[in-house]
């Protein structure tokens, strides 16, 4: 039996970004973008669920993000996660990878024992691939990045195949380990209809607070108790809940700063228009041959 923690992220769908969604300081105004489940993190969850299917254990999901990130946590519950934590606080906002990994590592320490930590290799909003290794460093455990496949799990070790430049390698690793997985490593399972029915009403503390707001008959403590007893509570961790140094979180704890952002002004090459016709092609090829670019 092995317990897994999975790190997931809700990301802006960066395939369609326009200048209007940028804030003055160069960060993205995420509220203006459709938010999606970072795909490689879904593959990471699939890895954890497969281990659970084979030999039992518990799968706990963590995400750090704004309140609406609980959407991806519900999706994790639909796929089969046992428990999902939302880590959220204004103090965490604007974090770079170093500050993010600090908060995640403190949350993991709080949540407790694990054999595996899984995460996607990278999130599509930054493509940095840094949070996984930085979290492993903070927890002082080994890491296996670019994992493709788990070949064998023993009681206290794992054999894993990972991608390297130009091929692959196979590593034996003592547990616990943090693994980041690539998108080709697996196919995330679809939501289970039964679990969607069961968990679509799952709510984070912030969502319950919203429900209680303006309704004098609802008390937040009672709501939390009720939702917890029905296994529909998404536990929420804030800076106060974690043993955290505020100077290492959010913007304050982020050494990298966006100094400037430029919308790209293209140099205004004056291209030669080539007509899409036989004559056009002939003239283009003549020019290329003249310039000795084509032989």
């Amino acid at each position: 039996m092995h317990n897994s923690i999975v790190l997931v992220k809700q990301v802006p769908d960066t395939s369609n970004i326009s200048g209007q969604v940028m804030k003055e300081d160069g960060t993205v105004n995420r509220s203006k973008l459709p938010a999606i489940f970072n795909f490689e993190d879904k593959v990471a969850l699939e890895f954890a669920l497969q281990i659970k299917d084979q030999s039992g254990g518990k799968v706990t999901v963590l995400t750090m993000g704004p309140p609406r990130a609980s959407d991806v946590l519900r999706e994790c519950l639909y796929m089969g996660a046992d428990e999902a934590y939302l880590i959220t606080d204004r103090k965490f906002a604007g974090a770079d990878t170093l500050a993010t990994s600090y908060v995640l590592s403190e949350a993991i320490k709080k949540i407790g024992s694990y054999d595996f930590i899984f995460a996607g290799r990278q999130a599509i909003d930054g493509d940095t691939a840094q949070v996984g290794p930085q979290t492993a460093e903070k927890l002082n455990i080994p890491q296996v990045t670019y994992a493709e496949r788990i070949l064998e799990i023993k009681d206290r070790s794992v054999r894993v195949r990972r991608k390297i430049d130009g091929g692959y390698e196979i590593l034996d690793c003592v547990l616990p380990v943090l693994m980041t997985v690539i998108k080709d490593a697996g196919e995330p399972r679809p939501f289970s209809a039964k679990r969607v029915m069961a968990f679509k009403g799952a709510k984070s503390l912030l969502e319950l607070e919203k429900m209680a707001e303006g309704n004098s008959l609802l008390y937040i403590d009672k709501l939390v108790f009720e939702y917890t007893s029905r296994s529909l509570f998404i536990p929420t961790l804030t800076a106060d809940d974690l043993n955290i140094d505020a100077a290492r979180c959010g913007v304050k704890g982020s050494p990298t700063k966006v100094y400037s952002v430029e919308s790209v002004v293209l140099t205004g090459n004056d291209p030669v228009q080539i007509e899409n016709s036989k004559a056009g092609m002939n003239s283009l090829i003549d020019k290329l041959m003249e310039d000795r670019i084509l032989g």
Binding site: T14, G19, Q130, I170, E262, L266, E275
Partner: protein, 339 residues
């Protein structure tokens, strides 16, 4: 060496005792950065029997080389390599550390940056040194870490003003490799390696690697296709054109994501950077991540159905039209010229 010199370090990645191209490219760039901030350029070489790599780094501008040579370090291993670099960074507090954005560099750099709590910027497409005024404070000789961000309309300049050590990764091919015109006198500083039982937590069972079959970087002609081709079937036209004119086939990230072409043939910020004589951009809209990888091509021919596609703003020749129509016409015209 004064501990607070503005020194620039390059982690020199090696496989099988050979330095990787990206490391030599970074040394070439690092030389310029070190000159700009009046510091020394130092190569950091870790491996087994790799003294020759330290020696080679002087040809690319290094003033000194830290060499950690031990049989146990033959293959890259996260824990041992990170432990070595962490100790060196703690001791010498370099101003800049550069890594290749390879699988190894992307595994190692964040671990090292986390240890010293340094800023780290991934996949930079340019690095510069400049005085900076930020939030009312003046900073001298900061490293400007420049990278496209968020979908492609934006180039962000990242700085790490408050940390002593500024770290960055750069993809292969982004910086140009050139031997230094004035190679330095070799000064290799050998650092002893003390094995630690922690290193045994991860062991290498086996490794399979094929020499790179695709050499986009060295190709004179590249024919690249994008998502505009729509289907794998029409992407075959890209192969046909490349075959007809003796070029290499490449693609945009969207083409790779759509499964039209393998990742090793991706041109752009998260792929390969190329500088061919002739570059065809076909059905590629021209997001900045793609342009970052090809805009230094000598001649660019863009083929796109959308007359407003940004690729037309950097192309030398523009053809507005459907690739399925244009490519066969081009091939036919080319073949008849050769007759």
């Amino acid at each position: 060496m004064n501990q607070l010199d503005n020194n620039v370090w390059v982690f020199v990645e090696q496989r099988g005792g050979m330095p990787s191209d990206v490391s030599l490219e970074l040394l070439s760039k690092g030389r310029k950065l070190a000159d700009a901030m009046n510091g020394s350029l130092i190569s950091v070489v870790i491996g087994s029997g790799v003294k020759n790599i330290s020696a080679e780094s002087f040809r690319y501008g290094a003033d000194e080389s830290f060499l950690v040579d031990h049989p146990q370090l033959k293959n890259y291993a996260t824990l041992a390599y990170a432990r070595i670099l962490n100790a060196l960074v703690d001791q010498h507090k370099p101003r800049v550390v550069l890594f290749g954005a390879s699988v190894i560099g992307r595994d190692l750099a964040p671990r090292v940056a986390s240890h010293s709590r340094s800023g780290l910027t991934a996949d930079c497409t340019d690095l510069q040194v400049s005085n900076v005024s930020y939030l009312g404070k003046e900073f001298k000789d900061l490293l400007l870490q420049i990278r496209p961000a968020f979908g492609g309309n934006i180039i962000a300049t990242i700085i790490t003003p408050d940390t002593r050590t500024q770290m960055a990764t750069v993809r292969e091919g982004v910086m140009e490799m050139h031997p230094s015109p004035t190679p330095r006198a070799a000064k290799i500083i050998e650092i002893p390696f003390i094995p630690d039982e922690v290193d045994g937590l991860v062991t290498l069972v086996e490794q399979h690697r094929e020499e790179r079959k695709v050499n986009l970087k060295g190709a004179a002609i590249i024919v690249a296709g994008g998502y505009g081709l729509r289907t794998k079937e029409s992407f075959k036209l890209i192969h046909e054109l490349a075959h007809a004119i003796g070029g290499e086939v490449a693609g945009s990230r969207a083409a790779v994501d759509a499964g039209f072409i393998p990742h090793e043939r991706q041109v752009g910020q998260t792929g390969v950077t190329v500088r061919p004589k002739l570059y065809f951009a076909i059905g590629i809209s021209g997001a900045i991540q793609h342009r970052a990888g090809m805009q230094e091509a000598k001649k660019i021919i863009a083929i796109n159905t959308d007359p407003d596609a940004p690729i037309f703003e950097i192309s030398h020749y523009s053809i507005i039209g459907d690739a399925r129509d244009v490519i066969p016409r081009f091939i036919e015209a080319y073949k008849s010229k050769l007759k």
